[in-house]
């Protein structure tokens, strides 16, 4: 049945569902962040927080900024995005500005994204704007609530879902989809995908090569207790898998989707009787001159590298090289519990969620 929506954004946020293996279905999004952005704006408009012509603010240089920018332009809101000079390239900034967003790129002397400085600037703007509205993708429940729609789409396409694989940045997509799927499938096994030197699952902070997943601050929307296994994928295997998605499935996706697909293929192979769903957050266009450019790739130290066929299972959480793929059995614990266990060097046995299925 073809229906036309009240506006195009609901369609634009809808992923194509691609069967990558007999027991593996991917939700390939053109721009996943439209889903939470639209939900947060719709909710704020209906409860009166967001008025006609309001000034929206957010601290992002990523795809959430692009999603809000598209919606703000179409719906006549003003928008200011506060980012750091190290996190945004001139072309992306120009794309955002072309659709009407004001982009403030703060200096970033420490090279860590300068989140405190960005939040300070955002608060200044809000203090001077009676009609200001902060979308708060890190902490707003609207972020995870929006992904009930993704759970619906998976269920309509697959029926029972046994395993869910997805990247974590704000936690919205993976934790939202997981919590809705688990209310009806309590046995659901959740595989979170992060990258080395992101602090989300207990690694020490450091320079990350793979952008679009991981974080150096911890958003409230990351709910560790939903996660059975955490995988840290380095930039190189993520790039290689993104290339493979294009070659083998015609899917032109960003490198974070590559990281998710790498883990998902392994899960689907390891657990052939399980129905596996994987979330692939955005397309490859933003990465055409880097991840999909041989010249840029060949300048990487150690490229091309051998693609790991399986993760190395860690018993102690530790960062690894960008060529590496590691895994740790999180077992639905809180971050505090896992960190305490680490201090006591009381390592859980190396049988986990996947093996127990």
């Amino acid at each position: 049945m073809v229906t036309l929506d009240v506006d195009y954004f609901r369609d634009l946020e809808t992923p194509r569902l691609a069967r990558l293996a007999p027991n593996l279905v991917a939700a390939a999004f053109p721009l996943m962040k439209l889903m939470p952005a639209r939900f947060i704006l719709d909710r704020a408009a209906s409860n009166g927080e967001l008025k006609a012509g309001s000034h929206i603010v957010e601290t992002t240089s990523g795809t959430f900024g692009m999603a809000v920018a598209l919606l703000a332009a179409a719906r006549d809101y003003r928008l200011t995005l506060v980012t750091a000079s190290t996190l945004i390239d001139a072309k992306y900034k120009a794309r955002l500005e072309r659709i009407g967003a004001t982009v403030i790129a703060l200096d970033d002397p420490r090279g860590d994204g300068n989140q405190p400085g960005r939040l300070e600037r955002l608060q200044e703007i809000l203090a001077n704007e009676p009609d200001g509205f902060w979308t708060r993708q890190y902490d707003s429940p609207g972020n995870w609530l929006a992904y009930a729609r993704l759970a619906e789409l998976f269920i309509r396409a697959m029926g029972k879902v046994d395993c869910l694989v997805g990247c974590v940045g704000t936690g919205g997509s993976l934790c939202g989809t997981a919590s809705f799927l688990r209310t009806v499938f309590p046995h659901l096994t959740v595989f979170a995908v992060d990258t080395h030197r992101s602090i989300l699952f207990g690694q020490p902070v450091g320079k990350r090569m793979l952008r679009g997943l991981g974080n150096s601050v911890l958003p409230k929307n990351v709910r560790h207790e939903l996660v059975d296994e955490i995988h840290w994928v380095g930039a190189y295997p993520a790039y290689r898998t993104a290339h493979r998605l294009l070659r083998e499935h015609g899917l032109f996706m960003g490198p974070t989707s590559g990281a998710a697909a790498l883990v998902a293929h392994w899960v689907a192979t390891t657990l052939p009787d399980a129905q596996v769903a994987v979330i692939m957050p955005d397309e490859g266009h933003r990465h055409a001159e880097t991840v999909y450019n041989d010249e840029w790739l060949s300048a990487l130290p150690g490229w091309p590298c051998k693609e790991p066929s399986e993760p190395r299972t860690l018993t102690t959480i530790a960062p690894a090289a960008e060529t590496q793929w590691t895994r740790f059995l999180w077992l639905r614990r809180s971050l505090d519990d896992v960190l305490k266990t680490r201090e006591a060097s009381d390592v859980p046995p190396a049988v986990g969620a996947a093996e127990n299925l």
Binding site: D5, D42, P141, A148, R149, I155, R156, K160, T183, V184
Partner: protein, 312 residues
């Protein structure tokens, strides 16, 4: 043009009497708030029909304006008959007689069954076959909130206060066996005294997921997915109209290999849903029924849904 021809010939019908039936239900598989294509919210439900209990209506047309109903307390059925005559542009009134085996006040939909049977009987008396959507709309007009029994065993997500279909699932529910019983000591619930439930954002989002489960369950005739949806909706209902012994029943269902637990969201009914084609079904259902009786629940009965002659 055939319809117009029928309308023209109505005055000359040989026998201005219509009879019709409507079946009962066992509460709802899911009930909550759902988004339509425009994103606006509607209260809606998916009814779980049971053909074993029914209401029968007979309508004798007369020239007088009045609609006289027997038993005379069934005023909603009389109102439905009047609305149907008006809808069909038929003058006069008639005598409406109802006979029903459906218990009142537990969530079996006794009132809607009377109303739907009455609408059908009036239509039959003027030799018109109404579409389920028209019957549903007339039923809501007559009793303010109505279940989806006008659609019989055809699965729809029905806006019970607006009388329209939010989503047509395009088929029948899969064949099921239901072990039904009454909670809260079997005391009836006065549905008209219940305020509509207020759902929070997370519940409203979850209802979309349950709707997806029902859609898939109908499309692929999958009782397991239907049971998952019913259980989750029953759990949400616990936060609004709690039933005593819910956790105990959920545990009996789990151990007994049921697909799920289902409730009447504005009644006292409980049901354990089984796949009609599951192995050892009779023995398992009998065992579960025994456990439920021992746990102190009343009126444990077995109902069949879309069983197509399968005998218990």
């Amino acid at each position: 043009m055939a319809e117009a021809g029928d309308l023209m010939s109505r005055g000359a019908l040989p026998s201005p009497v219509g009879t019709a039936i409507a079946i009962a239900h066992h509460g709802e598989l899911i009930q909550g708030v759902f988004k339509d294509d425009d994103g606006s919210l509607h209260r809606g439900l998916v009814t779980l029909p049971i053909a074993g209990l029914r209401s029968e209506a007979r309508f004798d047309r007369s020239d007088g304006d009045a609609v006289v109903v027997t038993p005379d307390h069934k005023v909603k059925a009389a109102a439905a008959a009047r609305l149907t005559l008006d809808f069909l542009n038929v003058t006069g009134g008639g005598e409406l007689t109802l006979q029903s085996a459906i218990p009142v006040g537990h969530g079996y939909g006794s009132s809607t069954a009377d109303v739907v049977a009455s609408i059908r009987a009036v239509a039959a008396a003027v030799d018109v076959q109404l579409r389920p959507s028209s019957i549903g709309r007339l039923a809501v007009a007559a009793e303010r909130a109505s279940d989806a029994i006008a659609f019989d065993d055809h699965a729809v997500l029905f806006a019970q206060r607006e009388g329209k279909v939010i989503e047509n699932f395009g088929g029948s529910l899969p064949p099921l066996l239901l072990v039904g019983f009454k909670a809260n000591g079997g005391v009836p619930v006065d549905t008209l005294q219940l305020p509509p439930a207020r759902y929070d954002s997370a519940e409203i989002q979850e209802f979309g997921v349950l709707r997806a489960l029902v859609a898939r369950a109908v499309r692929l005739q999958d009782p397991y997915l239907l049971g998952r949806a019913a259980s989750a909706s029953a759990l949400i209902s616990q936060r609004h109209l709690p039933k005593q012994g819910f956790n105990e029943i959920a545990e009996i269902a789990r151990r007994g290999g049921a697909c799920g637990v289902q409730v009447a969201h504005s009644g006292s009914l409980f049901g354990l849903i089984f796949d009609l084609f599951a192995s050892n079904l009779k023995r398992r259902a009998a065992l579960v029924a025994q456990q439920i009786r021992r746990a102190g629940f009343k009126d444990v009965e077995v109902h069949l849904v879309n069983a197509e002659g399968w005998s218990w």
